[in-house]
Amino acid sequence: MKFLLRKVMLYVFIAWAALTLNFLIPRLMPGDPLVLLMERTEGRLDPGALEAMAEAYGLTDAPLVVQYWDYLSSLVQGDLGLSIGYYPVPVADIVAGAMPWTIGLVGVTTIISFLLGTGLGVILAWRRGKRSDYVLPALTFLNGVPYFWMALILVLIFSVNLGWFPVANAYQPILVPGWNPEFISSVIYHAILPALTIVIGSFAGWVLSMRNMTVTVLGEDYVTMAEAKGLPRRKVLLRYGARNAILPSITGFALSLGAVVGGSMLTEVIFNYPGVGYTLFQAVQNQDFPLMQGLFLVISLAVILANLLADIVYIFLDPRTRAEA
């Protein structure tokens, strides 16, 4: 439990760092979001109103510490400020509308591609030296393909040419969201292509790292011993090889998850998927700084949380860390 506690502390710190980074970026970077607000309101704001608005965005002349305190206390109340692009809609509302889509899409695809990738990685490791090794360069290539380009190609083939899948939206716009089969099937149908993009774009990385880890583990004495024990190959591979090889993979989750989230953001843009990626993209295009920051914060916190979960899973899978408790 001490191990877990230490991890939690670390992630709490990281979360705090993300909060602070989020606070500092707009203050350290050049530029002034108010200029944009002025532009957006076509200059009709009088100085008083402008000042009030600046205060609403936390851009005051108050000492940084005071600003920081205000920032933290409004965060605690779930107040992320008002969007500039959708003024005066609260950022928190927009984020809350976008999060479920991304969590659904990225969550499900990450799990699928992790399972697919590690499974294939184990198989490739077992078949090392066989013809299946020739798949590796292809996987390397897949691993290098930019998500957004993959998405473009998939759209070109499956939506534009074949017309099998829609190119946009999370569901048929005409439907009213609800837990009815029609809506749910529409959601799934619309998610297939974006999900496919993310899976294709990310699973190769899992395959390659899992293969490498498994190959390394398969050289360990305990695997040889398992073989000498006369265990069936499958058992040797899974219980001794993969079981140990998957541990570093889970640790590597941090690295990969960030990349998947990044890639899925671009994917959302291509598919006009109403998740945080697309919303962030629009925020950037609208120079909607409060929204940008709110999204960044929420994405970061989500990834941090996912990492913490991965670490907890790790604790369950590796008795050695448990013992450290």
Binding site: M29, P30, L136, P146, F148, L266, V269, F296, P319
Partner: protein, 617 residues
């Protein structure tokens, strides 16, 4: 560390280099061969590829090929700059943190963790969103901020493992300064990691630049692959079918990413030879028979560290055999001294004229050369020999655990199975079908590995490691029965049966070795191969374990092949001794005879060395 030539052997690295070089050349010279300025308009719009426009034209009549080659410059430059910058940061953070440890390291570690966990792309987008100008350099710097962390983490781990290596300690003892140790001793060994990190950051930077430009966050007045895609997307190139506009830049990014990744692959394989595939693997193959006991601890630490420098010890093993022989007394000329065995009992394993070869580029290396031995029921056969003598290869051949590319090129190994009627049937071990081999293993021949810490699966409880065997070989046994048996076996080797639920890391070294012995005994096999079972143990523990083994042998009556380089130990415990030198059996006979009357010069040398070193011979 030495590269034999500048042209790498690995096909992957070659392919990767060719790709990268191609694009670099394209970026450098491409703009010279294009007829059009990248942004010059005025050509017919949206033309498919033709002789005039190799990759067609854009909506505004710009030449796609020209944009493509100019874009290559920007993409590669951003990638390169960001790659270099992020490696500088990660080298500083990783090396300093890993080397100095302490509070600085803790801070840097947490800083690294922060940047590692905070997703890069959103941070990148937010940072870029605030950038007033979006030139190549500022984009590269922003990318650096988001991409240094993974390499720094790897580098820190690498430095942590390197700083505990003896050569660092030795350099300190010599009087080298910390700076010098960091940058001249530690860093060169981390070069593969740094190179790999550089390639990784470069790929990430190229992708990030493309992604940013594609989102319209790059500088659209600069032609890059990303901005090409942005304009293509903005002008609905997809819908009007102008594939020539968006396929080349995306494909190029993918290919160059793959190219860099292939080089990275090569580096990984170089650092961790186990990963090799196909040709490069064969090439790297080395006669493991020459891998020695003394060597294996380095090899193990190498594998654990999984770092490049350690592969040097791998390389060394091949060359070592050659040079080592200059030091050892070379008595190849002397004929083997084989004495008849006086061990009572029927043979259980007989090896006849066994030959094991390791094919290498310079022809096959013979690791075991016409070796014949016979193991009788209940016999303790001591197999002695120094590094590279082939004793492990011999036992691996018997257990059918020879790893590729080693192969048996001649001879036979026979197992004499005793049937219920007391008769014995002969089993050709080398040609045993897979299923029969599986059934044979452990129930008739078990193994105790050299290092029990590595031979027990770290993530399974001791009970589960007993269970594995029992489920397969005693399918009828109940779970309770299995547990009872496991506890009984633990009791037999002197371990508290309650520890059956322990994980290996909760046991001491000696206990782990006992557990390994208990697992080997659980099916009451006829033969147990013990491969240096006590080498890794302290003298006192070694003695206890040995006593335990001897007791159990009396109780169960199994035969043992006991390999070690410690001849004096063998002389004390074994019935028969076989001495191997460079693959051949040089002396074979009853232990007492070999001791009192060594006949082969090599055996004599060994014995006299022992005496000289103060052993009680």
């Amino acid at each position: 560390m030495k590269l034999n030539s500048l042209w790498p052997a690995s096909g992957k690295v070659r392919a990767g280099l060719i790709i990268v070089i191609f694009f670099v050349l394209l970026a450098v010279f491409g703009p010279m061969i294009t007829d059009y300025a990248p942004r010059a308009t005025g050509n017919p719009p949206l033309q498919p590829p033709s002789a005039d426009h190799w990759l067609g034209t854009t909506q505004t009549g710009q030449d796609v090929f020209s944009q493509f080659v100019h874009g290559a410059r920007v993409s590669l430059a951003v990638g390169f700059i960001a790659g270099v910058l992020s490696q500088i940061v990660s080298v500083l953070v990783g090396l300093v943190g890993g080397y100095f440890r302490g509070i600085a390291d803790e801070m840097l570690y947490i800083l690294t963790a922060v940047f590692l966990v905070i997703p890069a792309m959103p941070l990148l987008i937010v940072l870029t969103g605030y950038l007033p100008t979006r030139g190549m350099i500022s984009v590269a710097i922003v990318i650096t901020i988001t991409s240094w962390a993974p390499a720094a983490r790897v580098l820190r781990a690498q430095t942590l493992s390197l700083r505990n290596r003896d050569f660092v300690e030795a350099a300190r003892a010599t009087g080298e300064s910390r700076m010098r140790i960091m940058f001249y001793e530690v860093m060169p060994n981390a070069l593969p990691v740094i190179a790999s990190g550089f390639l990784f950051s470069t790929i990430a930077a190229i992708l990030a630049e493309a992604g940013l430009s594609f989102l319209g966050l790059g500088s659209l007045t600069t032609v890059s692959w990303g901005s090409m895609l942005y304009f293509a997307q903005n002008n609905q190139a997809l819908l009007v079918g102008a594939w020539w506009w968006f396929v080349p830049p995306g494909l190029a990014i993918a290919i160059i990413g793959a190219g860099l990744a292939l080089i990275n692959f090569g580096i990984d394989e170089y650092a961790n030879p186990r990963l090799r595939t196909g040709k490069s693997r064969r090439k790297a193959a080395r006669p493991a028979g020459r891998g020695s006991a003394a060597m294996s601890s380095t090899a193990a630490s190498a594998a654990a560290g999984a770092e490049a420098s350690s592969s040097s010890s791998g390389v060394s093993e091949g060359s070592l055999g050659g040079t080592e022989s200059t030091e050892t007394t070379d008595d190849d000329a002397s004929p083997p001294q084989i004495r008849g065995s006086e061990v009572p009992g029927d043979p259980v394993i007989s090896v006849r004229d066994l030959i094991v070869d390791y094919p290498t580029e310079d022809g096959a290396v013979r690791a075991v050369d016409h070796v014949s031995i016979t193991l009788h029921r209940g016999e303790l056969l001591g197999l002695a020999g120094e590094s590279g003598s082939g004793k492990s290869t011999l036992t691996n051949a018997i257990t059918r655990l020879l790893r590729n590319p080693a192969e048996v090129s001649g001879g036979e190994i026979t197992y004499h199975r005793s049937t219920r009627t007391g008769e014995s049937t002969e089993v050709d071990l080398l040609n045993l079908p897979a299923e029969e081999l599986r059934a044979f293993r452990w129930s008739e021949l078990a193994i105790v590995f050299q290092s029990a810490m590595n031979a027990l699966n770290p993530v399974l409880r001791v009970s589960a490691q007993f269970d594995d065997v029992l489920r397969v070989h005693r399918p009828g046994m109940s779970a309770a029965g299995r547990k009872e048996l496991a506890q009984e076996m633990l009791h037999k080797v002197g371990i508290d049966p309650e520890r059956v639920t322990a994980y290996p890391h909760e046991l001491s070294g000696g206990m782990k070795q006992r557990v390994a012995i208990a697992i080997a005994l659980v099916l009451e096999p006829d033969v147990i191969i013990m491969d240096e079972p006590t080498t890794a143990l302290d003298l006192l523990v070694q003695r206890e374990v040995l006593e335990q083994v001897m007791q159990l042998r009396e109780e169960y009556g199994f035969a043992i092949i006991f390999t070690t380089h410690d001849l004096s130990l063998l002389l004390e415990i074994s019935d028969t001794i076989a001495v191997m030198q460079t693959g051949t059996l040089v002396e074979y006979g009853p232990a007492t005879d070999v001791y009192s009357d060594p006949r082969h010069p090599y055996t004599k040398t060994l014995l006299s060395s022992l005496a000289n070193l103060g052993a009680r011979i």
